[in-house]
């Protein structure tokens, strides 16, 4: 019993409270001050939803919001399809060149965002000679989302029993049937988690978007960053809160889905797979 008390030091709990306060201080601060009447500073002068109302008539902000959703949805769909096929190939088949693909995926995960951003802009300008637009942004987002989808889906596929596919084949299923009837349903939670991860990563991206977007394809992170030149303001707080809420909504949907999937016994979104 004495060992138990030694294992349960109270300071660990205090430490946990402090770290959680640290993790949430700026997020809570932002949300709180998005409802503050004062135009600047952090003196609380009363509750208002005025800044949110203003945003409904802020055409550049709305345009940026629509762009952000367009980019995130398109990039998520494409990256999820491409990444799932890749994860399937890498877990199911043995062939030469597999190591090369794994290396590429690793490189795309550790490459600093700034390096990706400048290399993409150099490529678009000097090699592809395309005008920067929402399409160049989507193509870039798909590229950096693929690796995240592959990692998450691969983790899920590695868990399941390959004999199920072999059994299906023995029972006369074509490879396509085996894939759609066995592999896809079993991999679904992983694919879903990968898609959610791709979505939030695309939604938040600032650096690569800023180097690959042209006039008219500004996204919300770019718009917010641009507005910061004029200092902290309650309308940026409100806009940021909306972005946070969008991300949280997606997380909540993912969470509910994984809880339901977990109850059905087919596993949950694994925090370790995300990390």
């Amino acid at each position: 019993m004495s060992t138990k008390s030694a294992l349960r030091p109270r300071y660990l709990k205090v430490h946990a409270v402090i770290v959680f306060a640290f993790l949430f201080a700026p997020i809570v601060g932002l949300i709180v001050f998005s409802f503050n009447k004062a135009r600047s500073g952090t003196h609380w002068t009363g509750f208002t939803t005025h800044w949110y109302g203003d945003l409904l008539h802020d055409e550049p902000a709305l345009h940026a919001f629509r762009n952000t959703l367009k980019v995130a949805v398109s990039a998520t769909i494409l990256a999820t399809i491409i990444g799932t096929l890749a994860a399937f190939a890498l877990t199911r088949f043995t062939f030469r060149g597999r190591a090369a693909y794994s290396t590429l995926i690793f490189v795309s995960l550790v490459m600093p965002e700034i390096v990706m951003a400048i290399s993409l802009t150099a490529f678009y300008h000097r090699v592809a000679h395309v005008n920067l637009s929402i399409w160049t942004v989507i193509a870039a987002h798909v590229m950096f989302c693929i690796a995240f989808v592959v990692v998450v889906v691969k983790a899920r596929l590695a868990q399941f029993d390959n004999r199920l596919v072999e059994a299906a084949a023995d029972l006369g299923a074509t490879p396509v049937q085996a894939f759609t009837r066995i592999v896809l349903p079993l991999a679904a939670p992983g694919i879903f988690a990968g898609a959610m991860l791709a979505f939030v990563i695309s939604l938040d991206d600032f650096l690569i978007t800023s180097f690959t977007s042209g006039p008219g394809s500004t996204t919300l992170p770019l718009y917010i960053f641009g507005q910061l030149r004029f200092g902290v303001s309650p309308s940026i707080n409100a806009l940021s809160t909306i972005v946070l809420a969008t991300g949280l909504l997606v997380l909540a949907i993912a969470g509910l889905y994984s809880v339901r999937a977990g109850r059905r016994g087919s596993g949950a979104i694994d925090a370790t797979a995300l990390g």
Partner: protein, 301 residues
Amino acid sequence: MTGSRAQTDAATKKPARSRRLPDWLAGNLLLLPTSVWFLVLLVIPTLLIVAYSLGHRGVIQPIRFTWGSLVWSNYKTALNPDFLPIFTRSIVYALVSTIACVLLGFPLAYWIARFSGRLRNLYLVLVIIPFLTSYLIRTYGWLVILQRNGVLNSLLGHVGLGNQHLFLNTHFAVILGLTYGFLPFMILPLYASIERMDKSLVEASYDLGHGKTSTFFRVILPSALPGLIAGVLLVFIPAVGDYVTPALLGGVKTQMIGTTIYDQFGSGNNWPLGSAMSMLLMLLILAGVFVYLSRVGEDAL
């Protein structure tokens, strides 16, 4: 006997085989879209940056890029006394932030994994929420707190410590921002490996007369090592090349590699120099990963 057996096996399997593509073909077909995407938007652009880093700055830069003779001058410039301190500073910031993340993250991960009881999933979600919310916006949140008329100054003013402190554009602000930004990347892998640890080992260590310190270094730390290694890499790599935090919370005195490269492709208008810096950053990261993993053991990943 065995020969005829093999023949019948081959005969019965034949119909199934003929419908199946060989592995190499199926694998490469499924990977075709990935290959195309990575080749066009990752490999070729990276090679382009390598070429730029060895090229001349054009007369009307950077529009006229001349292939000319390969030169190392960009690398020399990137490491001259104007820019070398920026590299050193980035490494120091990233190291200090990584250490801060370990000190903040280890006890928390340990507490969640071992003592948080029935609310464990809730605490995990509380770590995952910042992990998945916009880094830009979370960093902007610190601007609200740290600015001259921000939350921190008004709190300090209330307790009579003065309300005109300058927090922004300091080493403190940037290191705080980096630590904050990447802390969840440390907590989650640490949690995953501590959670897998066999708890009875700790009890056994105490029963065998080992003290707290000895138990920590001999039992707990080795079990948490894979998570710690992953966490260190996941914090250090993005921190050393970060742009958002030094751009929002820092200033001229706290420039990092990321902001400097950004400037070379923007106002500085020197793509070859920016490319050389990018290559040095990549080398730094790869060398860091390599040295670190060879020191602490590759099998731990």
